[in-house]
Amino acid sequence: MIPDMSQVGRPTDEGWAPVPEAPHVMLEGVTKVYGQVIGLNDVSLAVKGGVTGILGMNGAGKSTLFKLIVGRLKASQGTVRLFGTDPWKNPAPYARVGYVSESEQLYDWMTGLDFVTTLARLFGYTRDEAKERALHVLDFVGLADVANKQIGKYSKGMRQRVKIAHSLVNDPDLIILDEPLAGCDPLARTTVMNVVRELGAMGKTVLVSSHILNEIERITEQIIILHNGRLLALGNLHAIRELLDQHPHRILLRTDEPRKLGTAFLPHRDVYGVRFPKPDELVIETNDLSSVHKALPAICIASGVRVTAIENPDDNLESLLGYLMEGRS
């Protein structure tokens, strides 16, 4: 199913060679400022091999990161290296890179085959080579039967796939996919995910961004979390999850007699502290949220105190991010 790209050779690098042993992508203290807004704040990372998911909300800086890597933007501070070369100054490393932007825009008037062939020729392939490769990659993403149809008539999933196809045409070592699953229906989503997973299995370095955890989870366990332009977490998904579990949890109870209720909770073995931020509020601090939750109704009833609200202030994005930010510094 996977075409053997080595048959048609690499693009002509014309004098450029990657710095040996250099990570495919390396950012050191990179900051990107758009006027008054900080897009990326002092981010350092290095990626070589494997599939890496980049997770972050809208505006977290995922696209900015990618645009810096592919030289669409210039870093305000810090250094960006693509195979050891600054992509802003030298476009040669793009010969090893495939980039799928988040932009929905395509050349609607071209056929899928024309689109991929034309762009392949920019890698320095001759017409025939380019066409051969285009057919290969279109087949790889499952668009072989619609290759001669105009892109304007493609569905959204097909458009995503043709973008992925064009990024694969040069047999890249590094593939960057910016929100490849955005707006895809479940079927297209699965196809695209399979493509990404297969790419990872082929030994390529793949960077894929999303704001949805499930999607990333299906593709890879290797994640980078960005928020407000800062690098929050980096590493294995399970490891991060466990780290989060170790973090103390809080339960907030609203009641008329917080002190009495607090006293009732203290004997529980997993509760290691109570606080009273407001006259009618009680905050229980625990290491094991679920066991406290299990015991909670019984303790409340036993204490005979009227509880008007139970909240879990940690289970929202802000608190998660707040924790991650604390953990970083």
Partner: protein
């Protein structure tokens, strides 16, 4: 390749099945009591909460799913949950609001709007205002700074003859005063002179204003904002026309009036002068109206056929200056004055010469030019109306 993937897949399967198991152990949920009469939510309840339920006394639950524990996994899900738009949602856990004893369905009642519609002129005035106020303040149709500057500059330069006349009067230099004083030639020149007014100023201003006036509605789909309201297409086109006409009118017609009025005031002329010159002034005024009307209709027709602001602007300049140049070339080479009939500007100039009464510079009868002018306007208005009536309410 599938073989290679097995290890990762297994990993996922393992994970999925674990989640599944947790769900199953929690047992089925009781559906909300359907018989319970719908009641308004208590003030302290979050209306956004879809699944506010009693917390079963012995179970934990998370996001309405019993049995799910608040773990790191859950936190990540809360943060980067399922689809789009849920980034701002917060996880509601074990909410114990007193009134939420069962499910609540809010009945949605849609009532037709029975308000009084503003009169038609008021709605049209809103469109007109939108386009004209945009020149001065924010919150209305945005004109690029460059356009505003050019409009201002051309307005000032079109008052140049008034300025020179005043200068001549103040310094007492009769030469200047005579040169710029009110005369048939100068009134004609104020409106229809090719150099410099109709070669540069007026066409450029028109091109800049008409550039995006309809085409951008088409390009950005903002025409839907108009047509989804009680505004018909004729009113829409008319108000667009009027707003362009008013801006051009201020530059061309208003400055002409200023010039004439200024001439009378500067020289302290009496009634007899007024009566003597009012004929040619009115003729110049009529010529100016014709100029504004023709430029506006050609410009709007071009704006309505395209999707960007660039094409109409360049095409307008092409029509005004290009046809003039072609006619100049052919008439100079082959001595055919009638070729000037293809040029809107020359038709206007010829009709203007005829109305104001200055020497004709064309050999063919003025009536031909007038007829040609009417034909051009008719074609432009036809194109405009046809294109506006085909404007899609959705984005094209």
């Amino acid at each position: 390749m599938d073989d290679d993937m097995s290890s990762i897949d297994d990993l996922f399967d393992e994970f999925d099945s674990e989640v599944q198991r947790k769900k199953e152990t929690s047992g089925g949920e009781t559906p909300a009591d359907a018989a319970a009469p719908p009641r308004p939510p208590a003030p302290e309840t979050e209306p956004a909460s879809e699944t506010a339920q009693d917390a079963p006394a012995t179970e934990t639950e998370y996001m309405g799913q019993a049995g799910l524990q608040v773990t790191g996994q859950a936190r990540l899900e809360a943060a980067f949950g399922s689809g789009e738009g849920d980034e701002s949602a917060s996880a509601q856990v074990a909410q114990g609001a007193p009134s939420a004893t069962g499910g609540t369905i809010f009945h949605q009642i849609y009532r037709p709007w029975r308000g009084e519609l503003n009169p038609r002129w008021m709605r049209n005035w809103a469109i007109l205002r939108h386009h004209i106020y945009g020149l001065f303040s924010k919150g209305h149709r945005p004109y690029p700074l460059m356009t505003k500057l050019v409009i201002f500059g051309v307005f000032i330069s079109s008052l140049a003859d008034l300025g020179f006349m005043a200068l001549g009067s103040i310094t007492g230099a009769e030469e200047i005063e005579r040169m710029f004083g009110i005369s048939r030639g100068n009134l004609y020149g104020h409106v229809l002179a090719f150099w410099f007014r109709n070669a540069c100023s007026y066409p450029i201003v028109t091109a800049l204003i008409i550039g995006g006036i309809i085409s951008e509605d088409r390009q950005h789909g903002t025409s839907a904002l108009y047509f989804s309201r009680p505004i018909n297409r004729r009113d829409y086109a008319m108000m667009k026309f009027l707003s362009v006409g008013i801006i051009l009118g201020v530059i061309i017609i208003f400055s002409l009036c200023m010039y004439y009025l200024g001439g009378i005031l500067v020289n302290g002329e009496g009634w007899s002068y007024l009566i003597d010159t009012s004929g040619m002034f009115l003729a110049a005024l009529a010529a100016a109206f014709l100029l504004v009307f023709t430029y506006t209709s050609i410009g709007l027709a071009l704006s309505s056929v395209s999707q960007g602001k660039f094409f109409p602007a360049v095409a307008f300049l092409g029509i005004i200056l290009g046809t003039k140049l072609v006619a100049f070339l052919i008439s100079t080479l082959f001595d055919r004055s009638a070729i000037y009939l293809i040029s809107p500007y020359d038709n206007l100039a010829h009709v203007g010469q005829w109305m104001i009464g200055v020497n004709h510079t064309y050999d063919h009868p003025a009536v031909w030019s007038l007829v040609m002018l009417l034909v051009m306007n008719a074609i432009s208005l036809y194109v405009l109306s046809a294109r506006v009536s085909s404007l899609e309410v959705t984005r094209e």
